[in-house]
């Protein structure tokens, strides 16, 4: 805690003359008085370098041209009370899994906060904070952007069940190497380009499986309405093609039980529906999905 106070004290003094600090701020020189090593590590680290260059106009706080000089308090909040009484309770520590901690990050990274609120609210409601996945900038990141762990292991500590699914005999290859959940999941919400687009459900899959994106002249409604997970388990499955059933015929029959008596299931050819209805994801020319 003393380090944070030092950093707050020292950084405060470095704000250029004439650059008005927001109310209650003391500037980075005031922080540095007690937290010199912390400030040095931050300035030399990737977050500090970014704030010194590209981020000079990103921070919405009144720090135009002096973002790095005000960097301590832009995350830790106003430091005046802490400078007067160096206690843990009167400064935002950014430690612990609380939304208060995330407030330090979202003061600048508001777009990411908005994306999480709309697209992954479970993280928010479960108390997952930015620093559960990211490092603050004082420590060396394991991967970018400021990730606390390697991308392959980032989500595993909390999502053990999902990790276990990738151990099944037929696992999604994207998860084999490296295990990057963000290949499909956009944690902060997303843009159309990066996901084409997370907003539309099945489009997570057709980002790579573009040939199934359609729209098709004769679509298979479960794919278009219920999404790919109507028939597939996306992380892994004991069944080939990540299907939810070991027998293809049983999977189809669960919805197509009113099909014609012509389909005599005692014959092998009728136990594998895709051997005739090969266009199971939709067809451009055949209403019975015989051909793509």
């Amino acid at each position: 805690m003393r380090k944070i106070l030092l950093a707050t004290l020292v950084l405060g003094a470095a704000v250029p003359v004439g650059a008005a600090l927001p109310k209650g701020w003391v500037g980075k020189d005031t922080c540095t008085t007690c937290h010199e090593d912390v400030v040095k590590a931050f300035v030399a680290g990737p977050h500090g370098r970014r704030m010194a260059t590209v981020a000079k106009d990103i921070c919405p706080l009144e720090l135009k041209g002096a973002v790095l000089d005000g960097s301590c308090e832009s995350c830790h909040g106003p430091g005046e009370a802490h400078a007067n009484d160096p206690s843990k309770t009167n400064i935002r520590t950014l430690r612990g899994s609380t939304r208060d901690a995330s407030a330090g990050c979202t003061s600048c990274h508001s777009a990411q906060a908005a994306g999480i609120a709309l697209r992954t609210p479970a993280h928010e409601r479960s108390g997952v904070a930015c620093l559960d996945c990211h490092v603050s900038g004082h420590a060396a990141p394991a991967a970018e952007p400021l990730l606390a762990r390697d991308r392959g292991a980032l989500c595993a500590p909390c999502h053990l069940a999902e990790v276990a699914q990738f151990s099944l005999p037929y696992a999604h290859r994207e998860g084999r190497k490296p295990f990057e959940c963000t290949s499909c999941h956009s944690i902060h919400g997303g843009t159309t380009v990066r996901g084409r687009v997370e907003e539309l459900g099945r489009d997570r899959c057709v980002t790579c499986h573009t040939e199934k994106a359609g729209p098709q002249v004769y679509p298979h409604p479960p794919q278009m309405v219920g999404g790919c997970t109507s028939c597939h388990r996306p992380h892994g499955s004991p069944n080939a093609s990540l299907l939810t059933r070991s027998s293809v015929a049983q999977l189809c029959l669960e919805c197509h039980s009113n099909t014609t008596k012509f389909h005599d299931l005692s014959r092998p050819m009728f136990q594998n529906c895709p051997s005739c209805h090969s266009a199971v994801h939709g067809s451009q020319r055949d209403p019975k999905l015989f051909n793509e």
């Binding site: 106009d57 151990s167 687009v197 669960e254 012509f262």
Partner: protein
């Protein structure tokens, strides 16, 4: 060979650059030997690591190495004898520009189970259908941060797929094999502007995607039927057509937050325009000179889809620890579909060619509308958090496959509760427990569950430095009534994990997971007469894993892992094993040397068709700078 030369050349160039770099870098290559026994296609569909040279690692971090460029980083791995390869470049210059460029290439193979067809006399699983493809994906962005007003960003994406697909199909009542070479590409470009200093942050994004598909079919296996020498020999399988589409998307997002209020929203509009121009021919040669017969689909298809989407979230902090929210979601997509042209039966024989065209003109629709509104009470006080939400939504789906088909129009209403409680004592201990319960009133598909309930809990503890323990459990129930398909789908899972990392760098990790799912649904069988049956699926998985790393002296490091997955369920019992070990030695002149070995085994209890044993071992060398 061309690809191998490319990455090998790149590695050598990088080596030369790294040797002169002021900063940091490493280059590593390896060579692997593979020995396999059993179904190689099944192995390929799951791992597909192979023989040969591969790029183990490449990393260059050059900060202020080039004039004006404050950051330039290159990384790559996996090129060569691995199914997944990646490369990336990051650069920043003039304090205003930043560039990101990523490339990934995945090699894939499928060996689907054609269990029922195994009754056919000449059935060989790996020959019936086998996809081999390579998926290459480029993504990149260029951002400009030089304006006070906001950030301008250009995003690009390109995905292409190549390879071949070999498949069996039924024609003239007999099974044949055909092949299709794959040629798909989707490219996408987007430009976005994000404001900064206004009270409300705005994001405006315009994006366009283009898609083309030109798969080319051909006859495989000589055109003979698979299980007999018949008089019908497949002589022609051609697909000279092309599918193409254009997808422009416009998106506007906004967000505002202060100590008391939050407003987050977005709107999206998309128009998919898709055209299929087909002239596919499937033809048979009649043995004995009787002639040829072929079916030609000279058809043009068109599919247009408009999508509108909106999200809104309004929050009010009634007190510093209590926030009330209203969340709404709306999505509407409507598709107009059509196909026109001729289906032609062509007979060649008797001194002439005779065409019997059947004009085709068909139309269909597929519309979907989702609506959902929810109210949330969000309470958090110190380390405690509680969120309770109620939501009321509906999904309307309407489709008509063609003019000869009945129009389906179903609306499903959904209501439900969910609650989550959380406790976070710094990073020492975190716990979450949640409950979700919802019900649907109607069905889009027969297997939609009417009620879904789920109880889950997760705990993570870090009681000592370097020690992390975690556990989870979930209990799910889903069902629907006999008037649909009597769906019953209980699922239960639990797992524990522990990791200890010593200051020396030694670590050990153990995992144990159990998952049990039993699902049943009423279906109808057709043989010998129309009879009722039950589709059952039962899986009972036990996954155990251990992994550890140990430094030995100052120059050696050993890392090894073992994983076993065992399905004790009734549907598809199997056991799979995966073991790996790697020994690395720090050598002179910043060189590191390594040897590694992998062993995989897959054993399907009820059939030997899919089983395999694979061993892979190799060596690697890495140079750090």
């Amino acid at each position: 060979m061309r690809g191998k030369s490319w990455w090998l050349g790149g590695a050598l160039v990088s080596l030369a650059v790294a040797a002169s770099a002021q900063e940091w870098g490493q280059v590593g290559v390896g060579y692997a030997w593979l020995n396999s026994d059993g179904n190689r296609d099944t192995y390929a569909s799951q791992y597909d690591l192979s023989n040969g040279l591969f790029l183990d690692t490449l990393r260059l971090d050059l900060h202020s190495f080039f004039p004006g460029v404050s950051r330039f980083e290159v990384s790559a791995s996996g090129f060569g004898a691995e199914p997944f390869a990646r490369a990336s470049v990051r650069a920043e210059w003039d304090r205003e520009w930043s560039l990101r460029l990523d490339y990934t290439r995945r090699r894939g193979a499928f060996a689907p189970l054609f269990v029922g067809l195994s009754a056919a006399s000449s059935f060989v699983p790996s020959q019936w259908r086998s996809d081999e493809f390579a998926l290459a994906r480029w993504t990149g962005s260029l951002a400009y941060d030089g304006w006070d007003f906001g950030r301008l960003r250009l995003d690009l994406r390109d995905v292409s797929r190549s390879g071949s697909q070999t498949f069996a199909f039924y024609g003239l009542g007999l099974p044949y094999v055909a092949r299709s070479s794959l040629d798909d590409r989707e490219s996408e470009a987007g430009i976005s502007l994000e404001t900064r200093h206004w009270p409300v942050h705005l994001l405006l994004e315009q994006d366009v995607a283009w898609y083309t598909r030109k798969s080319r079919g051909s006859v495989a296996d000589g055109g003979q039927p698979l299980n007999t020498n018949d008089q019908y020999v497949l002589s022609q399988f051609t697909t000279p057509g092309k599918d193409s589409g254009t997808v422009p998307t416009t998106r506007l997002g906004l967000n505002y937050r202060d100590d008391r209020f939050e407003l987050i929203g977005q709107g999206l509009y998309r128009r998919d325009r898709f055209d299929a121009d087909r002239n596919d021919t499937t033809g048979w040669h009649l043995v004995g000179g009787a002639g040829d017969t072929s079916f030609i689909d000279a058809l043009t298809g068109k599919a247009d889809t408009d999508t509108k989407l909106g999200d809104l979230r309004l929050g009010w902090a009634a007190t510093p620890s209590l926030t009330l929210r209203v969340v709404g979601h709306y999505q509407d997509s409507s598709s107009d579909l059509g196909v026109a042209g001729n289906e032609i039966l062509r007979i060649v024989g008797g001194g002439g060619t005779f065409d019997f065209p059947l004009p085709v003109s068909d139309q269909g629709v597929l519309n979907r509308t989702d609506k959902d509104v929810a109210g949330e009470v969000d309470l958090h006080q110190g380390p405690f958090g509680l969120l309770v939400a109620y939501h009321d939504g509906s999904q309307q789906a309407a489709w008509q496959h063609g003019l000869a088909y009945q129009r389906e129009d179903v609306t499903r209403d959904a209501k439900g509760w969910n609650a989550t409680a959380s406790l976070a004592l710094g990073r020492t201990f975190t716990a979450q427990v949640g409950w979700q319960d919802q019900s649907f009133e109607r069905y889009v598909f027969l297997t939609d569950p009417e009620t879904v309930s789920r109880l889950w809990a997760k705990v993570t503890a870090r009681p000592l430095a370097g020690l992390e323990l975690s556990a989870y459990g979930n209990h799910d129930r889903a069902d629907n009534p006999a008037s649909e398909v009597s769906l019953r789908q209980p699922a239960d899972g639990a797992g524990i994990s522990g990791t200890y990392t010593a200051p020396s760098g030694a670590f050990v990790n153990v995992n144990l997971d159990v998952f049990k799912l039993t699902s049943s649904a009423d279906i109808t069988f057709f043989a010998p007469l129309l009879t009722s049956g039950v589709s059952r699926y039962d899986t009972n998985l036990l996954t155990t894993g251990v992994r550890g790393g140990l430094p030995i002296g100052k120059t050696l490091r050993l890392e090894a892992g073992a994983l076993q997955v065992k399905d004790r369920g009734a549907s598809l019992p199997f056991t799979s094993h995966a073991y790996d070990a790697r020994l690395e030695m720090a050598g002179p002149l910043q060189f590191d040397f390594g040897v590694f070995a992998n062993y995989w085994k897959y054993d399907l209890k009820n059939s030997g068709d899919q089983d395999y044993n694979v061993t892979r071992c190799g060596v690697s060398v890495r140079r750090r700078f």
